[in-house]
């Protein structure tokens, strides 16, 4: 028993450095912040040069303060505004909508009401292939403890969004039927 305690003690004292590990939703929030950079919105999506970039969370909020934290104060030159929505019809002014898992049983109607010009639709709810087929654009997939994402570039193009080639390159494939 004493031997084990000694081994453990040594291990404890030796290592307290930082680790490449974070909570799932911090990583997702950080990825959303990156999407905001690698996607170009059409000029019509903003009423004035100074109007804010509106990021929305639809359904139960899984981020807490993390989304605000990761997005920072500005996207490009625009101030960031975060809205928390209960219903999809309140999403008219959103540039980016994250659909929470609480909405997974009604993804289809939610997606139908979101389909409009200028909104990037992201989710990690339920079945990503169904999400993409119904107009979802970026679906998060957690595999082997790591978050990746699948991209439906067609749907994004239809909404007038320009996706940077870097985003296309690092996106996964399969679920949305395209990508790498």
């Amino acid at each position: 028993m004493r031997r084990i305690a000694a081994v453990m003690g040594m291990l404890l004292l030796g290592y307290t450095t930082a680790y490449a590990e974070a909570t799932e939703y911090q990583v997702k929030a950080a990825m959303l912040a990156n999407f905001a950079i690698f996607v170009d919105w059409p000029p019509t999506a903003f009423s004035t040069a100074g109007s804010p970039f509106v990021a929305c969370v639809l359904g139960d909020d899984p981020f807490g303060r993390l989304l605000e934290h990761e997005l920072g104060e500005r996207v490009g030159s625009r101030p960031v505004e975060i809205r928390y929505l209960k219903k999809a019809d309140a999403a008219a002014e959103c540039h980016m909508v994250f659909i929470s898992r609480s909405e997974q049983h009604q993804l289809k109607p939610v997606l139908a009401s979101l389909r409009k010009t200028g909104t990037l639709i992201v989710s990690d709810a339920g079945d990503i292939s169904g999400f993409c087929r119904n107009g979802g654009m970026i679906g998060f997939v957690t595999e082997r403890g790591k978050v990746r994402f699948d991209l439906n570039a067609n749907a994004a193009a239809k909404a007038g969004l320009k996706i940077d080639s870097k985003l296309k390159r690092v996106s996964g494939s399969t679920e949305c039927g395209e990508g790498r």
Partner: protein, 707 residues
């Protein structure tokens, strides 16, 4: 939603039953994010909760680096079980990996209230809350909704159960009866092994390794997408294990086996999921079998092997009718065939099972679930041919059994958000004991989000098994009568047996003490009625002149109580350090019929001392720099005085170190029982005499490559 692990959200029936969102919570709640609240959450609220400490921003790392970060999704397992009105433990894939265990059976050592004793290399005695035995019959074990216990003795042949451990999503262990849902034999506990959906196992994995006495093993898995809606995986695995230790010389317990299988998952719009899966398993396990002779020492133990082939095919269709209701239809066929060549004993069965269930809300406060099931068992059992059935024969060799069942349960929200009542009833008809009614009532109180109290009263039954019905087993050396004749005791099954009845009283408390510490406690008091005792009957004429038989007829002649407490704590003092510990206390008091002979009473009541009174398990898990995982596990198991030769208590240390030099490569070294050469974990079973085997120190290395 349903008992089956529906792929979309993996909600088995019990949890659904006892609370439908538990599993969703398990898969969804991130480590430090606030639990998702129903409805609208105000950002201001979140701010006050979290202003204290925000981690460093990750966004500047860029997408590629973000994709390489390990996310901690399932760190608060204990607390997410907060809303179930039963004692539930979940063994996550991470727990499985970090345990260093190489068999399913060994995984259960970490679960409070579970009794796990390795009898030899290929045999285990596993039970929940007492009555541990190699042939324990009060535990229901299922994989992906398919029962894997054998109808022969209503228990599990652990040497014929295998699955690639890395393709298991999680294992849920429910202590206490779940008979109102799962039916007969879900008496002391239920184990649900849930494998990953094929969409979560894309790509290849090749692993292999070896050690001593672990032997050598290898495994190949490959999965992929057939279309946007359909995924599949296939696997093949094989192993050969060396023997353990016996004071009597050869322990006769080498074991090798191979398995292969597939799983396919199809889904449509998140509303329909269809799963088809099948497996084939081969196992050759050394053992010793009794052979009866008319000359001293009468009972010979012959070195033998048990050769098993088993296979199954299962299909399941789950349909989500709307946000709150769903139904599920499942059918499977399984075949099990085992032979012991030298003494020429064998048994085989085909099982066909069909199950339907439907759950839907009624009004605002009720969630209603009902289901039907039908199971047909076609079983053949063989007499021992080497000694003309002297050691083992059956009153009847072929059994065709039907089990019909129906259940319903209402989940009634008494007070919004804080008090729930669950009422459930299962009705079942089987060919041995006829109709059985198994009800339960459960109350769940969640005064705050971080605390849960629950209490339950249930009735459950153990129905007679084929063995208890018809076996004729002579495996005990004869006594010499005053006349000089040899008297052979013979365990004799009886068609007159009734079910063993359990009334269980349980209560539990769970608390999320802080972000990093959760506690789970349970207390139980079980009352058993009609436990089975081998009762001496009038002496019968023997196999040959000068011999006589003493039938030991199985009768329901014992009552008993067990009570105990289980405590589990999960503490994460730092992001890279987790401590997990459990303590289990169990006490059994059995009361055989006082009219029975004293030796019979003593023999029957000795089962009191075959499960440990106290057990402690402690695991310390470290995530070290450079992708190194280190785990150390210590376990104390109390003495087992219930055997002729008591099994001493033991303290055992297991460890595992794993290193991922690359994202697609892992190298690990694991060891069990590191500070002891060998020790026994269980005594000699009363039915079949064999030498005690001691479990050796085991060390092995393993390499895994993903492609």
């Amino acid at each position: 939603m349903n008992r089956f692990p529906a792929d979309q959200d993996h909600i088995p029936r019990a949890l659904k039953r006892w609370h439908c969102t538990i599993l969703l919570l398990i898969t969804m709640i991130p480590a430090n994010a606030p639990a998702a609240e129903p409805g609208f959450s105000l950002p201001e609220q979140q701010m006050t909760d979290h202003t204290a400490q925000l981690p460093a921003r990750l966004a500047p790392l860029g997408l590629e680096k973000l994709m390489d970060i390990e996310v901690t999704t399932v760190t608060r397992v204990e607390s997410t079980l907060g809303e179930s009105a039963a004692a539930i433990s979940v063994i996550s894939q991470e727990d499985i990996r970090r345990s260093g265990a190489s068999t399913l059976a060994e995984l259960f050592r970490r679960v409070p209230g579970m009794n796990v004793a390795r009898i030899d290399n290929n045999k285990w005695a596993i039970s929940v809350r007492g009555f541990n035995d190699r042939f324990s019959n009060k535990l229901l074990v299922q994989r992906d909704g398919r029962s894997i216990y054998d109808p022969l003795f209503a228990g599990v042949f652990w040497n014929a159960v295998d699955y690639p451990l890395e393709d298991i999503e999680r294992i849920e262990v429910i202590r206490g009866p779940g008979a109102s849902v799962w039916g007969a034999n879900a008496v002391n506990g239920i184990i649900n092994i849930i494998t990953k959906s094929a969409k979560d196992t894309r790509g290849g994995r090749l692993s292999g390794g070896g050690g001593t006495p672990e032997g050598g093993f290898g495994e190949l898995r490959y999965g992929g997408a057939i279309s946007a809606k359909t995924d599949y995986r296939v696997y093949a695995a094989g192993f050969g294990r060396d023997e353990q230790f016996s004071q009597m010389g050869d322990s006769h317990d080498r074991w090798h086996g191979a398995s292969t299988g597939m799983r396919m998952d199809w889904r449509q719009d998140g509303l329909d999921t269809v799963t088809v899966q099948g497996d084939y398993l081969y196992s050759s396990a050394q053992r010793q079998d009794p052979d009866l002779e008319m000359t001293p020492p009468f009972i010979f133990l012959l070195a033998n092997r048990s050769i098993t082939h088993s296979g199954n095919i299962l299909g399941r269709w789950t349909h989500q009718t709307d946000a709150q209701s769903s139904w599920s239809l499942q059918g499977y066929w399984s075949r099990f065939d085992t032979k012991q060549p030298v003494v020429e004993i064998g048994n085989n069965n085909d099982i066909y099972d069909l199950d339907f269930q439907h759950q839907f809300p009624i009004a605002q406060r009720h969630n209603f679930i009902y289901g039907f099931g039908y199971r047909y068992v076609d079983q053949a059992v063989g007499n021992s041919l080497s000694d003309n059935g002297l050691s083992l024969s059956w009153l009847k060799n072929d059994f065709s059994l039907s089990i019909y069942s129906a259940f319903l349960q209402d989940e009634y929200l008494l007070l919004p958000d804080s008090l729930k009542l669950f009422l459930g009833l299962k009705l079942e008809h089987n060919d041995f004991s006829g109709f059985e009614a198994q009800p339960t009532g459960r109350l769940l109180w969640t005064p705050t989000k971080r605390q849960t109290f629950w209490a339950a009263v249930s009735r459950a039954v153990v129905t007679p098994s084929i063995s208890e019905d018809a076996v004729r087993l002579s495996a005990i050396p004869p006594a010499t009568l005053p006349s000089g004749a040899l008297l052979f005791p013979r365990v004799t099954g009886s068609p007159d047996l009734s079910s063993v009845e359990l009334i269980a009283y349980e209560t539990g408390y769970r608390a999320q003490v802080s972000e990093s510490l959760s506690l789970d406690t349970a207390l139980f008091y079980n009352e058993y009625d009609g436990l089975v005792v081998p009762v001496p009957q009038a002496v019968e004429a023997g196999f040959a002149p000068g011999t006589a038989i003493l039938p030991l007829r199985l009768e329901n002649r014992m009552d008993g109580e067990t009570y105990g407490a289980e405590i589990g704590a999960d503490w994460r003092p730092a992001k890279w350090w987790r401590l997990y510990g459990t303590y289990s206390f169990l006490k059994a008091a059995l009361h055989a019929d006082r009219n029975l002979p004293a030796s019979t009473i003593a023999g029957a009541e000795s089962a009191e001392g075959r499960s440990p009174q106290q057990q402690i398990f402690l695991q310390s898990s470290f995530d070290l720099p450079r992708d190194v995982e280190l785990d150390a596990m210590g376990r104390f198991v109390d003495r087992l005085p219930g055997f002729v030769q008591a099994t001493p208590s033991y303290f055992s240390v297991d460890m595992r170190v794993a290193w991922r030099p690359r994202r697609d490569l892992e190298v690990s070294v694991a060891g069990q029982n590191l500070f002891d050469d060998h020790h026994p974990e269980f005594g000699v079973s009363s039915i079949v005499a064999a030498p005690i085997v001691e479990i050796r120190r085991n060390v092995y290395a393993k390499i895994t490559w993903w492609f």
